[in-house]
Amino acid sequence: MSTVAELPAGAGPAPAEQLAARWEEPRTVRAWFTTVDHKRIGRRYLVTASVFFGLAGVSAILLRTQLAGPEAGLLSPQEYNQLFSMHGTAMIFLFATPMLFGFGNFLVPLMIGARDMAFPRLNAFGYWVFLFAGVFMWASLPAGAAPNGGWFAYVPLTDEVNSPGLHLDVYTLGLLFLGISTTAGAINFIVTALKLRAPGMSLNRVPIFVWAIVATSFMVLFALPALNLDNGLLFLDRRFGTHFFDPEAGGNVLLWQHLFWIFGHPDVYIIVMPALGIVSAVLPAFCRRGLVAYPLVVLGVVSISIISFGVWAHHMFATGLPQLSLSFFSAASSIITIPSGLQLFAWLTTMLLGRLVMRAPLLFVIGFIVTFVIGGFTGAMFALTAFDQQVTDSYFVVAHFHYVLFGGAVFPILAAVYFWLPKITGRMFSERLARWAFWLIFIGMNVTFFPMHLSGLFGMPRRVYTYPEGLGWDPWNLLATLGSYILAVGLLLVVVGVVHALRRGKPAADDPWGGDTLEWATTSPPAPYNFPVLPEVHSLHPVWDPRTAESVAAGAPEARTLAEGRQTIRTSELDARYEQPIEMPESSLRPLVAATGLLVVFGGLLFDWYWVAAGGGLLLALTMVGWLWPPAEPT
């Protein structure tokens, strides 16, 4: 193994062998189910989320094909409703956040110089819950019982009277189920970033990507409860006859919208923020210099995560809220563009002052900047109440949020796929294939979504399964459908590129791009213990900094080798002073069993089998009892 051969003398082959013995997992089926390695879990998040992206993408292709011409008969209205609801729900909940959490899982411990996440078993549990919740929701589609009320499921459309059947129960229970995974992941990220940073990595030396993941996680902790409550109340209303959203018995339909958007607007940033973090991580490697205005970018990240909680009602400008409150939310929605713009100018300045190396990841970053700015521009238009009320629920909205989310999340995600593929797989990809993919995606994306601005302004409402001829919408719809095919081919090329790299790719160097963060200081792919010697960080760009490199060379103290056990270093929250080594858990089947218990709970609830659900709860509780029982040896 090259890891051992290249080791600096200080660590010596002996500790590396010790480390490998303690960290490596056998190649057995059991080990596949019991692993707690953050890198394997991160890869699984990436693959699973990509599969859900594919399913949601195929749904979108079907929708676009139906809309290619007027009065088409490919899909029935019922099928159309389920497909567009699943498309939105899956893209938001089952693709965007889990995909970014996948990168976070793989990268955060590497970037901060740790050997795993703070709670490795909780991490495995979070993955299994995500997988089960995703399957739970997608399985409803072939059964004809998929959610059909749109991704934000407004009542009273979605109450028991207007939407009978299991459709919306799949939605509420599926999202509650998934919420457990997202919350667990968020807590894990924050604690990992607070306590496991390598000695010397004080807060002002934390990579922007880690800052972004932490800010996102805080938003999850404070935003997701509103969605969970909303779904819990809707489930109770539908199944047990409570009256939270029933105006006839004193309830209120707007309560749903308030709670949904108190979650939903921060969620836009929950999706976009880690993606912005990716951009800040990719740029320095291809501009050959550090990111400009690091403190301001960090402040921008933090202030976006706070202000995003004060803008939710701009989704409700057309619901008849008091005029005064609209002005407040309009103002907050305009203010939030300032920290976003600040980041944008930091990237542009970095590119201006740097020496650009035009490789595929940078192309995707530039594609991101172009589309995201267009999306941000229409976003600023929506912040004005009067304009919003004109175009609400039209295709203009669809165009806007696809520019924001495709531009703001998918382009950075694709940049990340190419940027970290060598690190994750140890293989280089074909640059030519990647460029073809970029241009097809960039052109396809704009040809798909730009005409929607126009059809929206010409009055086409969103979520219609067809439209009559002669309203002036036909050419724009045909164009959008053609664009979606180009886009699909481009995305397919990405898959081809990844598979090609895995099968035929040249072995990747440890640091193929000359990056500045610690993941490039270890092997590609990293050994199970990440770093033979945990580094001591002396600057914001540890890999470009000779003192940090020295800290892992000859004579590194055993306090940072920790070869005696399965350990990593715990440091203080703010300035990352060395506190003590902590023991990391071994692999375990319990996360999978606990997640299975939860699956039984939610399945039981869905089908009215409450005793089954109780049995699942019991399985979960018993697993937790053993999981958390104090270990035999002193800790």
Binding site: A118, V191, F222, P225, N252, L259, P630
Partner: protein, 205 residues
């Protein structure tokens, strides 16, 4: 293992001499409580939102404002239930196993009495209205029931601690789990104050 000088200078031995700082588990629980508090805040916020949108009469016609006698006794049981737990935690920090066990048992007894009184209260209020009567009934039972579920989970955690404590699993330097589970109990305990104000006192304002 090495002997002699190395045994007392290796990182694990040195670390116990240093100020310990907060553990990962402590932070995990603190963040979990943060997200749970947000959930309760959203729930109680929904109560006031629905109340003020529902019209001038609250509770709606046909339902009397909640009785205060039982809830106040429940408060008197639950709010002080954190004290024996604090006392138990301080005890185990000095290695006093009996204080840990006695304190846990006392908190469990107080929490269990709280739950039985809540059951009694339900028995009487269910005669008057249920959660399907109107939105007031829905809010009343969902809020108190949701909190009751948290008390139940808290009690399960404390019982689990007591079982481990009776087997001597905790000691002067090994009581992180006591500290973390206690945090959760204090949270469940304090949330009750907000529920008492919202559900029982605010309709009389």
């Amino acid at each position: 293992m090495r002997g002699g000088v190395a045994a007392v200078t290796e990182p694990a031995a040195l670390a116990t001499e240093l100020p310990a700082g907060r553990s990962t588990g402590w932070w995990g629980m603190a963040l979990f409580i943060a997200t749970e508090s947000t959930l309760f805040a959203a729930l109680l916020g929904s109560y006031f939102y629905l109340r003020f949108q529902a019209g001038p009469q609250w509770p709606p016609a046909g339902i009397r404002p909640p009785e205060l006698f039982l809830p106040l006794i429940m408060t008197a049981l639950l709010l002080p239930s954190s004290l024996p737990l604090l006392w138990a935690e301080r005890g185990i920090r000095r290695g006093q196993q009996w204080r840990l066990r006695a304190g846990l048992a006392a908190t469990i007894a107080l929490g269990a009495s709280f739950l039985s009184l809540q059951a009694m209260e339900y028995a009487s209020s269910l005669e008057e209205f249920t959660f399907t009567t109107d939105v007031y009934g829905s809010l009343y039972y969902v809020i108190t029931g949701f909190h009751g579920a948290h008390v139940t989970i808290g009690l399960l955690m404390l019982t689990w601690l007591l079982a481990a404590a009776l087997r001597g699993k905790f000691g002067v330097r090994r009581h992180e789990r006591v500290r973390i589970a206690a945090l959760y109990w204090h949270f469940v305990d304090l949330v009750w104050a907000a529920i008492l104000f919202t559900v029982y006192l605010s309709p009389r304002l």
